[in-house]
Amino acid sequence: MDTLRVLVCDDEAGMRLGVERALRHFTVRVPDVDGEVHLAVEPAESAEQALEIIEAGAPEILLLDLKLPGMSGIELLERISPRHLDMLVIMISAYASIDVAVRATKQGAYNFLAKPFTPSELKDSLRQAAEHLIVARQARKLAQEKRRVRFEFISVVAHELKAPINAIEGYLKIMATHAAGDDPAVYDRMAERSITRIHGMRKMIEDLLDMTRIESGQKKREIATVDVCEVAHLALETMMPDARERNIMLEFRGPDSLPMSADRGELEIILNNLVSNAVKYNRDGGRVEVVVKNPDERVQIAVSDTGFGIAPDDAKKLFNDFVRLKNERTKGVLGSGLGLSIVKKLALLYGGDVCIDSEVDKGSTFTVELQRGDIAT
């Protein structure tokens, strides 16, 4: 439970005690925030004493009497307000003139409470202040969390882009100085590897752009009637050269056509990612199967491979950004680590989801389910 400190500064002992008593078992329940807020009341009999307490550690709320012997409430406010912007000040006064009220508000007073007030008026005023504080605190926490996530994301992106640059720079340096001897085949291989790494880098940048567009909602979506089967055939065709090179069989099972309401580009991203993964992480001589079905007016796309399979612990992380499973068998396979996270984000846009069913050494099946939407006729 959160506790807010409330400092009561009033020269009347009865008032200090009254406030303490009224708030002793008082808790505030803030909507949307878990738990209750408890108030801890501390008394101060003069502005000087209140100042001392505030300097030692500002309370969240200050209940401040205007008229005090010695330093007045307004004077105290003027001294503390520039440094304690987070503290909410509620002025208590028997004769708050407009003029004084304006001065106090200018100095940052949050609210007024006219003397004499009933315990329930006091509680109302404090409930308001506490809610304000907690909501502001939540907003700060959220902003902080957002900054942290953004910073982490940028660090990972920077790291992922630095790796291919280091590799390419290394090759160029050796080529420039002929540091690898006289065999031209060695230099050919270096040029080839550099190009492969550049392709990987470009794919990553494209994936990053896809992802930010999806997440920011700024990608113009052109929703039209799209044939899922046609997009699936296209994805299989695109991967055909890679598959043939490694003797991997590509198969399609499904109806002749299955129209759905979608942005064609998004559907292509989903299928291309899944089919390309199924080929990349397959064994030579393996098989990839795309099955399109139409259960209960939804679109179901299942892409199966006969590859390495994924352990259950790894499967859980698979749809997060930049997750690349690093093991003996994924070595040498290039990827951005963003493909599946993009697939998941897109599936959610269609009121669907993606799931994986996998067995180590046997293979994996990724199943995407999408709402079919209204189909224009």
Binding site: A163, I174, G181, R189
Partner: protein, 132 residues
């Protein structure tokens, strides 16, 4: 280069580009180079031959696979110099080095190089360690 012909260097790193780049340059200087891309591959290489020096990456498939590779090399023969390469310093800001004897004993390496490693830097350390 004289005297390097018979020297064998074991390169252990799962970054295939880095390994290839160091390998071709070392071979051009007359070294024999054996490469391994994992802890297990390194163990296999060690069981069949004794390298004159080893260059080991700290983070491969596991966070600290390099440590155990270094440990195994030193267990086989304490006199084999080991150069450990790591991106840990630049990536995490975590600082450790192999300057004092205590540190060298802890990381089980004679030299610690921060990634990205320049070849000239690697060559200088290899020359120094093999000249001893």
């Amino acid at each position: 280069m004289s005297g390097t012909k018979s020297r064998t260097i074991l390169l252990v790193d799962d970054d295939e580009d880095f390994v290839y780049q160091q390998k071709v340059q070392l071979e051009a200087l007359g070294y024999r180079v054996v490469t391994a891309d994992s802890k297990t591959a390194a163990e296999r290489a060690l069981s069949s031959a004794r390298p004159d020096l080893a260059v080991v990456d700290l983070m491969m498939e596991d966070m600290d696979a390099g440590f155990s590779v270094c440990h195994n090399i030193k267990k086989k023969d304490k006199s084999i110099p080991v150069i450990m390469c790591t991106g840990v310093v630049s990536e995490t800001g975590l600082e450790f080095d192999a300057v004092t004897g205590e540190e060298r004993a802890w990381v089980k390496a004679d030299v610690l190089l921060s990634k990205p490693v320049r070849f000239e830097q690697l060559k200088r350390e290899i020359d120094r360690l093999l000249a001893d």
